[in-house]
């Protein structure tokens, strides 16, 4: 899915990989998607979600990252980073933003898809 969209979307460089701490995050302010949380897992996998918890809008970027998941700092929902889905029994989804790392540069696909 992301692939087909990528064809039409401009990839924007937001930072270098090492600017995101492992098991941590950075916040990106975007015009198109509002605040975006950029996560880097221990294995260097990078994910991007809108920085609003599907529960009550908590800033996911401020949660504890474990594996490919983050625990929301407000009421401890666990959100799967790859899908943006809340882990059962909770239900909800934080919209994803396509992201890729190229030669150490982190690129987001902003705009295009709504």
């Amino acid at each position: 899915m992301d692939g087909s969209i990528a064809g039409q979307t401009a990839w924007v460089e937001v930072c270098r990989l090492e600017e995101i701490p492992r098991q941590g995050s950075r916040v990106v302010a975007t015009a198109a998607r509002g605040e975006v949380a950029l996560f880097r897992a221990l294995d260097d996998a990078v994910f991007a979600l809108e920085d609003r918890c599907p529960h009550k809008g908590g800033p996911l970027s401020q949660g504890i990252v474990h594996g490919h998941a983050v625990t929301c700092p407000l009421h401890n929902w666990v959100i799967d980073l790859a899908s943006g889905e809340a882990v059962a029994p909770d239900k909800g989804c934080a919209p994803r933003i396509p992201v890729r790392v190229e030669a150490g540069r982190v690129l987001l696909a902003l705009g295009g898809r709504g």
Partner: protein, 823 residues
């Protein structure tokens, strides 16, 4: 059957120590009615665990906890105990012994178990006040007394097991410690040069200064020791000199009685001296040219000697192979057998992981393990030792042997490493407890026959894991295997979270016992099922490591809840609240002005006075935090840690400064407490309060540590809570001076830090362990209290840094800034 019992014989035991009393215990089991028993002891104490003196010195155990046989035990078993009265003569013709005070006891059988004496080198100054050995309770008391005064320096002479444990214990008590050792490397009789060097490096990092190749020439001083002078001219100043260079068997009495003595009292395979009515066991004997200094062979002697005394003349003593461990928390050393290849046919295999500080060497001889030296990770020590003792052919696993049991046996098709399975796979003859020589079969038999269900019961009945405790995990695994679901780990030990089957207490113990230093290391070594853990176990582990290794462990911000990472409280809208510290609730125009300026400058939407006597600024944006802090810092204000599982507020009332009822300066006391305790991390939040009189306007009796002033001094209260479940405090004790308040408070907080489970506030903790326990540790055990307080202050040296100042200066900037792409 003849119902008239045979007349009892008289057994006299000289030496109320570990060997002698072990013979008596065994004998009571084998032949309870055979003897009337009289025991003489030179020390004025009942029999205690000499091994555990190291733990007492290090402040980990109390003297009461190391008693093996209480005075009641002697009475219950009909044993006459004459303690504090050494035997001075044996009359073999008359078959009597005479004590120093003139007690004469007749015997049919005599057992000499007089132990050994510390070696005293022929150097001037030995025996001056301020010098001692490391052998008995009196020595430990001397050392503890010396450590009491601040800034005292100790020199330990001797870099063997005893000397190192003495040095470590004194260091733990806050002394500055130097260790003088004759040889180039430490523990050279048990460790090879590599392991000895690693050990020295680790202890050096823990603050012990080493003088190797150091020949002590003189203990300087005229009225009392002032230091030592070495042969090469080096001088080491000291207020306490501990001499621990070795021991020699205590043979004086036997020699005087005309028994054959050499290095020790000569005994045959039945532990009999040349006089058939006189037996001897323990460190005072020499058997086939060998003398002893560890308990494992002594327990074997005690078994054989008891059998002999019970009438089994076929019982034969054979010295078992020996292994050594060092009882310094967090330093793992194991060795057994040969230290190095002795001839060209021997093989040495070594393994070293510099990053983890792990070193291992195996000596192979004729396809079997002849020696093992381990440093850093000793988990597999007992397994190698088992291979050594049983002479197992290790040829088939030779290539992977050095990598440890899991790899070596997996390579042979055995199941992968699982501690429970590993213990289950051991044969019944495998030794589990090295200190007390208890094998697996005895433990499983005791569990089955006596229907034991707890670790403590197993310790009580088998002695397994009762001394140094390093086999606790294996004993628990045996209990779990025997009882299945029926085994509840020591009360309430539920798993920490879904990532592990271990409970909090177990994990804390293992962190210390195995010297685990990082979160990944804990997870790896304790078999976490989710490799990165979760938001519940990571903060707990981060705290446990921080508490265990102050100054050494590097805090993992990624394992902290957002508030503790951002040093502010997150609010429902994602903004933060900022609470500067107001010492004891006091403030002044400069601080108030700075707060007002900050509020206006950054458009902070709301200002509120908190329930904890300070001011909270609400609605601060993430990017503003470092700026707000910089401005507050400039007015002398630091973080109030209103977000921390740590010390929050110290609430005070006005007290005697203004109040017409005040009896003491409660505000000043509160400020002093806050100055001591600010910045400290805890299992949960901690709040203090000080009231100036029993009207208690600061609500001290619902605080974690509350102080209420009375005419004669201060009442100290603990374990209160005003939150969800209101709990009034328990009275801890009353003290007279401000210094005592500080010491009790520091000790109480440290005990809580070291022993409570993460997210357990003091109220439920005190209820779980009992206020009596807390009183024992913090009030009655004076030395223990000082040591706890000392450890608290030590940890504070690293904790008292204002996190706001560091971040205002630029630390962790990425956490506060927002990236803006060029869209």
């Amino acid at each position: 059957m003849n119902m008239i019992a045979a007349p009892r014989q008289r057994l006299v035991v000289v030496g109320n120590g570990m060997a002698g009393m072990r013979v008596v215990q065994n004998l009571l089991r084998l032949a309870p009615h055979r003897y009337d028993i009289t025991v003489f002891g030179a020390e004025p104490h009942p029999n205690y665990d000499r091994i555990a003196l190291s733990s007492v010195l290090a402040g980990e155990k109390t003297l009461e906890e190391i008693v093996i046989n209480s005075r009641d035990w002697y009475a219950e078993n009909g044993i006459r105990l004459i303690a504090g009265d050494p035997v001075v003569a044996i009359d073999r013709m008359a078959r009597t012994v005479t004590s120093a005070s003139g007690v004469v006891a007749a015997y049919d059988r005599l057992l000499i178990a007089a132990g050994s004496k510390p070696l005293a080198p022929p150097i001037p100054g030995l025996g001056l006040p301020g010098t001692c050995a490391f052998r008995d309770i009196a020595d430990v008391e001397t050392m503890i007394a010396a450590a009491r005064d601040e800034g005292r320096r100790a020199v330990v002479i001797g870099g063997g097991l005893l000397g190192l444990e003495a040095a470590w214990g004194l260091r733990r008590r806050g002394m500055s410690v130097a260790l003088v050792h004759l040889m180039p490397t430490l523990m050279e009789r048990q460790l090879d040069a590599t392991a000895g060097t690693l050990l020295q490096r680790d202890l050096d990092r823990r603050g012990i200064a080493f003088f190797t190749n150091g020949q002590t020439e003189e203990i300087t001083g005229t009225d009392r020791a002032t230091g030592v002078r070495l042969a090469d001219g080096r001088e080491v100043p000291a207020d306490l000199v501990v001499v621990a260079i070795g021991i020699r068997p205590n043979i004086d009495l036997a020699r005087q009685a005309g028994l054959e003595v050499n290095r020790g009292i000569v005994v045959d395979d039945g532990l009999r001296t040349e006089d058939p009515n006189i037996f001897a066991v323990g460190e005072c004997v020499e058997h086939r040219g060998q003398v002893f200094g560890l308990v494992a062979p002594i327990w074997e002697q005690a078994k054989i000697c008891a059998a002999q005394l019970a009438g089994d003349e076929t019982a034969i003593y054979v010295t078992p192979p020996l292994s050594t461990r060092l009882k310094i928390t967090g330093v793992d050393v194991f060795s057994a057998g040969a230290l190095a290849a002795a001839d060209p046919a021997d093989e040495e295999i070594t393994f070293q992981d510099v990053a983890r500080g792990v070193y291992r060497k195996l000596v192979l001889r004729g396809g079997k393990v002849a020696g093992v030296v381990m440093y850093g990770d000793v988990t597999d020590g007992p397994w190698y030792f088992q291979l050594l003792r049983e002479g197992t052919e290790v040829g088939p696993m030779r290539d992977t042997l050095i990598l440890g049991r899991a790899v070596a046996t997996a390579a042979q098709g055995a199941p992968a490493h699982d501690p429970a399975a590993a213990v289950a796979a051991l044969p019944d003859t495998a030794e589990i407890c090295g200190c007390n020589g208890v094998c697996k079969g005895s433990i499983t038999a005791a569990i089955a026959e006596l229907k034991l269900t707890t670790l403590d019961a197993v310790r009580a009945h088998t002695k397994a894991s009762a001394s140094c405790g390093s086999c606790t995990g294996q004993v628990e695994a045996l209990l779990a295997a025997a009882l299945g679901e029926g085994y509840a780990k020591p009360e309430g030990e539920r798993p920490m979270c879904k990532c592990t089957s271990h409970g909090h207490d177990h994990v804390r113990r293992e962190i210390l016992a195995r010297g685990l230093k990082t979160i990944p290391e804990v997870m790896l070594r304790l078999g976490w099922t989710r490799p990165e853990g979760c938001a519940s176990c990571r903060p707990a582990l981060n705290y446990y490591l921080l508490c265990a290794w102050p100054g050494e462990y590097e805090d993992d911000a990624r394992s902290r809840f957002v508030n503790e990472r951002m040093h502010a409280n997150i609010q429902k809208d994602g903004t933060y609240s900022v609470v500067p510290r107001m010492w004891g609730g006091l403030t002044n125009p400069r601080e108030l002005r700075a707060i007002a300026d900050v509020v206006e400058k950054y458009n902070i939407p709301e200002v509120k006075v908190t329930g904890g006597q300070r001011i909270d600024l609400f609605g601060v944006k993430r990017e503003q935090l470092p700026h707000v802090w910089r401005d507050l810092n400039a007015a002398g204000m630091v973080s109030g840690h209103a977000y921390a599982k740590g010390l929050r507020t110290v609430k005070t009332c006005v007290g005697s400064t203004w109040c017409r009822f005040g009896t003491q300066d409660s505000t000043g006391m509160g400020v002093a407490l806050e100055r001591m305790a600010w910045g400290s991390w805890h299992p949960h939040k901690v709040k203090l309060a000080v009231s100036g009189c029993p009207r208690n306007c600061a609500e001290a009796t619902i605080k974690d540590f509350g102080v209420v002033a009375v005419e004669s001094g201060w009442e100290l209260h603990v374990g209160g809570n005003g939150g969800i479940h209101v709990r009034a405090t328990d009275l801890l004790c009353r003290v007279a001076t401000e210094a005592e308040v500080l010491e009790h408070c520091g000790a109480f907080l440290q005990l809580y830090r070291e022993e409570a489970r993460y997210l357990e506030r003091t109220a439920p903790w005190v209820e779980r362990v009992g206020i009596d326990y807390v009183r024992r540790r913090v009030v009655e055990d004076v030395e223990g209290r000082r040591a706890l307080h000392e450890r608290f202050l030590h940890a504070q040296r690293f904790a008292q840094q204002d996190p706001w100042a560091e971040r205002a200066a630029g630390a962790d900037a990425g956490a506060f800034s927002t990236l803006v792409p060029a869209e």
